[in-house]
């Protein structure tokens, strides 16, 4: 790792518990500008919780999370401003059911006065084109397939022109034939240089697209490195066991 690269996300001694349950025990890592990081690990190991701590959807119990120099654990940091620069894509899409696709895309930019309504619509159209759904602007979420919904969700996040994108198992809720279309959009995004943190079970995708793979288990980062290192030559026994199970 060249150290002159810009750090976008810096996580130090991150801890998170839900009551008595310690979910994240001591997480340390830096994520660089343009880096694509895939997080893998068994279910319940704290992957989603970790991702949700990066935009403070979960209140952090200890440690620091610094996004572009802003410590988001600090109560004085305006978390809404920080979130404007971090897009998030959820396993279950979470499109706004009361709004049509174009309104889904323009709600946040217009409400937050990022641009005029006209500019937001134009940007929305460009984003829909980018994910191959330019003809769906007037439809409602319940009229789309899962794969289409997830592509809209990505477009919605991109309309805020974020620097960082977080993905929490974006293809886990999809029928197998729709996984490819979503992964393709994510690949394009990675090639454009977007900083991405992706929780995924798609090992093929991780091997092809990730700059770095993090293996989490029991609330710790057990092992991290290039896909070559972690996926093909894992060192820790827990990583080896996990990969044997999923591959």
């Amino acid at each position: 790792m060249a150290d002159n690269r810009e750090i976008k996300v810096s996580v130090k001694n991150l801890k998170k518990d839900f009551g008595d349950l310690q979910v994240l025990k001591d997480i340390n890592t830096d994520i660089y500008k343009g880096e694509v990081v895939c997080i893998i690990g068994p279910s319940g190991s704290g992957k989603s919780t970790f991702l949700r701590c990066l935009n403070k959807l979960e209140e952090v119990s200890g440690g620091q999370v610094i996004i572009d120099g802003h410590d988001i654990v600090d109560k004085n940091t305006n978390i809404n401003k920080v979130r404007e620069n971090i897009g998030m894509v959820f396993q279950h899409f979470n499109l706004f059911n009361n709004l049509n696709i174009m309104d889904n895309l323009t709600l946040a930019p217009v409400q937050l006065k990022k641009c005029s309504k006209e500019e937001a619509v134009e940007r929305g159209q460009n984003m829909l084109k980018k994910v191959g759904l330019e003809d769906k602007a007037g439809n409602y979420p319940n009229q789309l397939s899962g794969g289409q919904k997830q592509r809209v969700a990505i477009a919605r996040a991109l309309c805020m022109q974020p620097d960082i994108m977080l993905f929490d198992e974006p293809t886990s809720a999809l029928d197998p034939e729709m996984v490819g279309e979503v992964l393709q959009v994510m690949k394009d995004l990675a090639n454009e240089g977007m900083t991405m943190v992706i929780v995924t079970h798609e090992m093929g995708f991780a091997r092809e697209v990730a700059d770095r793979v993090i293996f989490m288990d029991g609330g710790f980062i057990v092992e991290e490195g290039t896909p070559q290192e972690v996926l093909l030559n894992p060192k820790a026994q827990r990583t080896i066991d996990f990969l044997n199970k999923v591959l």
């Binding site: 959807l57 998030m88 709600l107 996040a157």
Partner: protein, 223 residues
């Protein structure tokens, strides 16, 4: 029967008007209470949650007739006699409105709270992840979806409130039942009087519930 209609018809219709007025006033303030306490019931703040729950429990745990007497007689007595030095009374309309608003407000709180909770948490999270404030997310994403699920129960609550106004005849507000008691006392025609009053309620409530059905269907089609 004919005599009651020709002689007392106008009086009963005016009383029906007062019944509707009282129900609408009560419902209006109940909605405000319901939105305030309903949101207090869903925010991530234990103290506000508890206040909301206490409001609902207290009002639901007291019969409305007791609440009516308490407000109309009890509160002025507190100020005028127990504390002393005030000369303070409620009109029957004021006391009736407060009583209905509190009573119906407790149920509205539950309706609004349940409506908000019925919206998938992911909707709020997605909105917040884009940088929207809690208030924006509530107004633009969560409440519009919650209100859609609330409409049938809401209309139902309006009908219940309309019927509950009859309880307020006990504090002397000249709504329909109170007025009908006078008609009965003057004419001794109990059967006819109460049959007419029953039919009057029935007509108004049927019109209400029919239009509710139409409204509900329209909203579902129009999204």
């Amino acid at each position: 029967m004919v005599k009651i209609i020709t002689v007392y018809g106008g009086m009963l219709l005016t009383a029906m008007g007062r019944t509707l007025l009282l129900a609408l006033l009560g419902l209006f303030f109940a909605c405000i209470l319901g939105i305030v306490f309903g949101i207090m019931g869903v925010v991530k703040n234990k103290i506000l949650n508890i206040i909301s729950q206490i409001f609902v429990d207290v009002i639901r745990g007291v019969p409305m007739i007791v609440l009516a007497f308490f407000i109309y007689f009890g509160i002025p007595y507190l100020f005028n006699t127990i504390i002393g030095g005030y000369s303070f009374t409620f009109s029957a309309l004021q006391a009736g409105t407060i009583c209905l608003a509190l009573n119906c407000g407790a149920y509205m709180t539950e309706i609004i709270r349940a409506g908000i909770l019925s919206v998938d948490e992911g909707q709020m999270e997605a909105a917040r992840s884009l940088g929207l404030t809690y208030g924006m997310a509530m107004r633009k994403v969560v409440l519009p979806q919650a209100i859609k699920t609330m409409i049938p129960t809401f209309i139902n609550q309006f009908i219940i409130t309309l019927k509950d106004t009859s309880i307020l005849s006990v504090i002397g507000f000249p709504e329909l039942v109170n007025t009908a008691k006078n008609v009965q006392a003057n004419t001794f025609m109990s059967f006819q009087t109460w049959a007419i009053v029953g039919i009057m309620y029935l007509i108004v409530i049927t019109i209400l519930s029919r239009s509710a059905k139409v409204l509900e269907r329209r909203l579902n089609v129009g999204r």
